[in-house]
């Protein structure tokens, strides 16, 4: 293989496609701190394990298949940091097992999916935003820490076709604290935590000509400031609201996003606006899109009746775990032991857990069967959806003895089918 190769980053939802990677030195160029950490040497799970004892891939997969087949209702969760080809097999496997499929968006941007079901999504690609957006509003999003190159490539200092540089683009940040992104903004609007919904409602009222109904202060923001922001939005040639977890993980959740989409619909009577979520993991979009095109839903899908049913109140991983509704779990490309509330982790500790992941994490500590996998984008190839649903082919640039997620799931599905007859 050549010494320096082009690579596509498999860390965050920006999926930067302009990286260089020195295969010999195992070092990347051009990537941010997050991408550089992705493309660096780290501790790996050395070998497949059953109850801490090293075994072969075949033995671990056999054991995993037994656990899943013997479970009444297994939870198959994760999927955001693997490729579409693996996710596809995961959905088939869940259906076969009559289990529950859920993915990381469930604790991330899934409230936005609920809003989209209600209101649709007036969206645009990152390319359109880069080339056209003269006003960008980051709402409850802090890309300087979560998507460090987003601003440079698409939304803050990006040099576009029509909006040529930073001077031609107005950047507004709405957040509950002065984040690193807020410090780069032309305007920072600090709101009280949990007040996104009323602030959005106030903007809708002002833009629709009902400013009289807005009190002097909403969610910690003066009416004057809200009127100013509404004017900025109305006067944009092409505006983009890019929202983050500040909106989906706080009071109001899906309703915040729904209200924001309604604001965008209203703005589109005056000018052109789009709204888009700042998706976290590099293929969390795929973890939703793939089951959507296979079985009709993005997450929280139950197959216990032999056909897919969607209900986040019942079938999201956190709800399933809190109620003790699953008796085994397969966790892939994710770490719920670190990222779920303790009430959910509690049940995960009680049931047999199978983990498929390249790196040891907190879920490894409670997993009964651990199956190490190749790192997609470095050791395995496949397709991932960038945050704006543009599919990109991530590469294999290094040879490895680790099996890819796709290989592992293929074998696991084969075993499960054999055991189930």
């Amino acid at each position: 293989m050549e010494e320096t190769v082009n690579v596509i980053c498999t860390f965050c939802g920006s999926v930067c496609d302009d990286g260089l990677f020195d295969v010999e030195k195992f070092k990347s160029k051009r990537f941010c701190k997050l991408g550089s950490s992705k493309f660096s040497k780290k501790e790996r799970i050395k070998a497949p394990m059953i109850d801490g004892k090293e075994v072969s891939y075949e033995e671990a997969i056999e054991k995993a298949a037994e656990i899943l087949v013997n479970a009444k209702r297994p939870l198959l969760y994760g999927w955001a940091s693997t490729v579409n080809e693996a996710i596809r097999l995961g959905v088939i496997l869940t259906e076969k097992l009559r289990g529950v499929y859920d993915q990381c968006a469930s604790v991330c941007h899934a409230p936005g999916t609920l809003a989209v079901i209600e209101e649709g999504l007036p969206g645009g690609t990152l390319g359109a935003i880069k080339n056209r957006a003269d006003v960008v509003v980051f709402w409850g999003a802090n890309p300087m820490e979560a998507h460090p190159r987003h601003g440079m490539r698409y939304s803050i200092s990006a040099k576009g076709l029509l909006v040529k540089d930073r001077k031609q683009r107005k950047v507004v940040v709405v957040d509950v604290r002065p984040t690193k992104t807020a410090k780069l903004a032309d305007e920072f609007i600090q709101i009280k935590p949990g007040y996104d919904y009323p602030v959005i409602s106030a903007l809708r009222a002002i833009i629709s000509g009902n400013a009289d109904a807005v009190p002097d202060e909403v969610g910690g923001v003066s009416k004057e400031k809200l009127v100013e922001l509404a004017e900025t939005m109305k006067n944009a040639r092409y505006g983009a609201v890019l929202y983050g977890l500040g909106v989906t993980q706080s009071r109001g959740r899906d309703r915040n996003v729904e209200n924001a989409v309604k604001l965008i619909q209203l703005l589109n009577r005056h000018t052109r606006w789009v709204i888009w979520p700042m998706r976290g993991h590099y293929n969390v979009v795929g973890a939703g899109e793939v089951p959507a095109w296979e079985v009709g839903y993005q997450y929280a899908i139950d197959f216990s009746r032999g056909y897919p049913r969607f209900s986040p109140a019942e079938f999201s991983a956190v709800e399933v775990l809190k109620r003790g509704d699953c008796d085994a779990a397969l966790i892939i490309a994710s770490d719920p032991a670190a990222h779920f509330p303790r009430a959910a982790v509690k049940h995960l500790k009680k049931i047999p857990v199978i983990q498929i992941d390249p790196f040891p994490n907190m879920t490894t500590l409670l997993a009964n069967v651990v199956i190490p996998s190749a790192v997609a984008g470095i050791e395995a190839e496949g397709t991932a959806y960038r945050m704006d649903a543009i599919p990109l082919r991530v590469k294999k640039v290094i040879d490895t003895n680790y099996w890819s997620d796709e290989q592992i799931l293929e074998k696991l599905l084969e075993k499960v089918e054999k055991l189930m007859g």
């Binding site: 997050l34 990222h339 303790r342």
Partner: protein, 122 residues
């Protein structure tokens, strides 16, 4: 003792160490809470001090840091420490309340548990 609202979220260091959860670097990236300077003074905190964060849903000991947050709000990086105290109720959405949970904060001499100890304590 101080009444606060707890928010959690990503940081650059949390992201850069997220695939190395069992290392010292990850531990340091997620085991603290940022407080407003006034709140810091009100609690009589010194550099390196620990605080206990308590909510209806749990409690956790973390290191205290001065940060750019408004008074009455503390920020804990997303991860196992924050998740000890956030609200697991999803209101039917599947999404727990990771941001905006009411709680109290006090200075403590108790130690900050390691990631492994934390998981054992659940």
């Amino acid at each position: 003792m101080l009444e606060v609202e707890i928010i959690s979220g990503r940081t650059l260091d949390q992201g850069a160490t997220v695939e190395e959860k069992l290392t010292e670097e990850y531990f340091n990236a997620v085991n603290y809470a940022e407080l407003n300077e006034e709140d810091w003074k009100a609690l009589g905190l010194q550099e390196g001090d620990r605080i206990k964060v308590k909510t209806e849903f749990g409690e956790v000991v973390v290191f205290a840091k001065k940060g750019d947050v408004p008074r009455g709000i503390i920020f804990i990086p997303m991860g196992p420490y924050a998740n000890m105290v956030i609200d697991p109720a999803t209101d039917g959405t599947g999404m727990p309340l990771f941001k905006g949970v009411k709680g109290i904060v006090e200075r403590t001499d108790e130690k900050v548990l390691s990631v492994k100890e934390l998981l054992e304590a659940i």
